[in-house]
């Protein structure tokens, strides 16, 4: 039983192949080959950020965002959102013209444009260089703080998990099971490099199997 609190960031962390993505796909309603129940309020709006940006290459950045935007999402809302993720200049471009980092920003903006009740993020920052990934993580926090929403993020990166999580769910493979659910009380905004190192050291001591490689 995994309980996700409203307007909190839950991070599912575990090694590759332990079923994190599958769990997220089940929550998103993309996979119905499972037993058990997912209780999400009916007609909840979902924003989903995949591992790859998955933008429509034949639509401009603006059209990609507008396509999924919530009813009542105005041009002004779009400008503000684009501005907050740093893609204001990219709106008339096609996704193919963007670098992976920029495309990820667009995917992030798209997920927020649905005004989601539930925001799902599937390893949204993999295969980016560490500096870009870190900028995007801070950006995610910034945008998310401004538009608080229930969020579930999946990652295998321990530092990413520690930076973002309110609630940290540790998973282990074969068979997939929850090792522990940790709560991190320090607000995300105050987690600097030193704080993250401290939390990491503490978790490494208590869950060596989960944090040794991360």
């Amino acid at each position: 039983m995994l309980d996700v609190k409203p307007e909190s960031m839950t991070v599912l962390m575990g090694p590759s192949g332990c079923g994190k993505t599958t769990l997220l796909r089940i929550i998103a309603g993309l996979d119905d080959r499972f037993t058990g129940t997912v209780s999400i309020p009916p007609d909840a709006r979902i924003g989903l950020m995949f591992q790859e940006p998955r933008l429509l290459p034949w639509r401009t950045v603006r059209q990609n965002i507008e396509l999924v935007a919530a009813p009542g999402f105005t041009a002004g809302d779009l400008e503000r959102l684009a501005d907050s993720v740093g893609i204001a200049d990219m709106l008339p471009r096609y996704p193919q013209e963007l670098s992976l980092g920029l495309a990820r920003r667009v995917a992030l903006a798209r997920a927020f444009a649905t005004k989601p009740d539930l925001l799902l993020l599937d390893e949204p920052f993999v295969s980016l260089d560490e500096r870009t990934a870190d900028r995007l993580r801070r950006l995610l926090l910034e945008v998310w703080k401004k538009r608080p929403t229930t969020a579930i993020l999946v990652t295998h990166n321990a530092r990413e998990a520690i930076l973002l999580a309110d609630q940290l769910v540790l998973l282990a493979p074969r068979p997939t099971h929850v090792v522990a659910v940790e709560t991190i009380d320090l607000p995300q905004g105050e987690r600097d490099a030193k704080a993250i190192d401290d939390i990491f050291a503490d978790l490494l001591r208590r869950y060596p199997a989960n944090f040794a490689t991360g």
């Binding site: 309603g29 979902i46 998955r54 396509l67 013209e97």
Partner: protein
């Protein structure tokens, strides 16, 4: 170590003949070849380009050429639209539903291998010598080809974008318009490319066998009179119309549909 030889550069420049110029040269070469052959033959059965162009000019001003071209063009367009719409719907359905694909595949193979002439004759025998039968018979000849091409496209649809559409709860119509159809665009282009040329050839046969007008009817008439000038005149005139459609309509449309591609990163 690599050395750039400056003397190679001008050579490279000579290869960049612009596209339209090459096309014009190519057409001029064909006309020249035709002219020489006609001069050598000196026969009523091989008139030169001058005689044929004169015939076209005369028939366009004083004869039925433009009317007949218009009638044939209308039949081509009607058959083409029917074949593309029906073929695309069936092809997309077969590509997305394996059960339907298995059920209809034998029909498709039969239809693909049925000679155009058989379809036309049977259609005329069963449904009468009328306009609807003529257009339907032509469309039926093209439909299986469209189905096969579009089905291939439907099988190649990106599952990642499909998931995106489902996760974001796009309506079926919105998904079709924004996700599915753009992915099928190259397949539509391929089907319509081969479709136009196939259809206009079959329209001539349909006209020859059972219509009192159109380019096919005129060809038949002039064949009986052994009037090669008229036959070449009608052919040339209609080929010109089809070329104009290709360059002025099909290619600009295609460029518009694929404008998102090949943008520099």
């Amino acid at each position: 170590m690599s050395v750039i030889d400056a003397r190679e550069l001008p050579l490279r420049g000579t290869r960049t003949l612009s596209g339209p110029l090459v096309s014009v040269l190519s057409v001029a070469g064909f006309l020249l070849l035709w002219f020489v052959a006609a001069e050598l033959a000196q026969s009523r059965l091989l008139p030169g380009p001058g005689a044929v162009l004169q015939y076209i000019y005369h028939e366009a001003l004083h004869g039925d050429l433009l009317t007949e071209l218009g009638i044939t063009l209308w039949r081509v367009i009607a058959s083409f639209v029917i074949a593309m719409v029906v073929g695309s719907v069936i092809g997309l359905a077969m590509g997305e539903m394996p059960a339907l694909d298995r059920a209809l595949d034998p029909w498709l193979i039969v239809l693909l291998n049925l000679p155009a002439l058989v379809i036309i004759i049977l259609a005329y025998v069963w449904f009468g010598l009328n306009e609807a039968t003529a257009i339907g018979a032509v469309a039926l000849n093209k439909i299986p080809n469209t189905i096969v091409t579009v089905r291939e496209g439907a099988r190649a649809l990106d599952p990642g974008l499909d998931e995106m559409a489902r996760a974001y709860r796009l309506s079926p119509l919105s998904k079709l318009r924004n996700v599915t159809l753009p992915q099928l665009q190259p397949y539509f282009a391929a089907a319509s490319r081969s479709g136009l040329s196939l259809i206009w050839k079959i329209v001539l046969v349909v006209e020859l066998l059972g219509r009192p007008n159109g380019v096919g009817f005129e060809l038949h008439l002039n064949f009986q009179l052994f009037n090669v000038t008229a036959i070449l005149g009608y052919t040339l005139a209609f080929v010109t119309v089809m070329l104009a459609i290709e360059y002025l309509l099909v290619q600009p449309l295609e460029r518009h549909a694929t404008r998102w591609r090949n943008k520099p990163v």
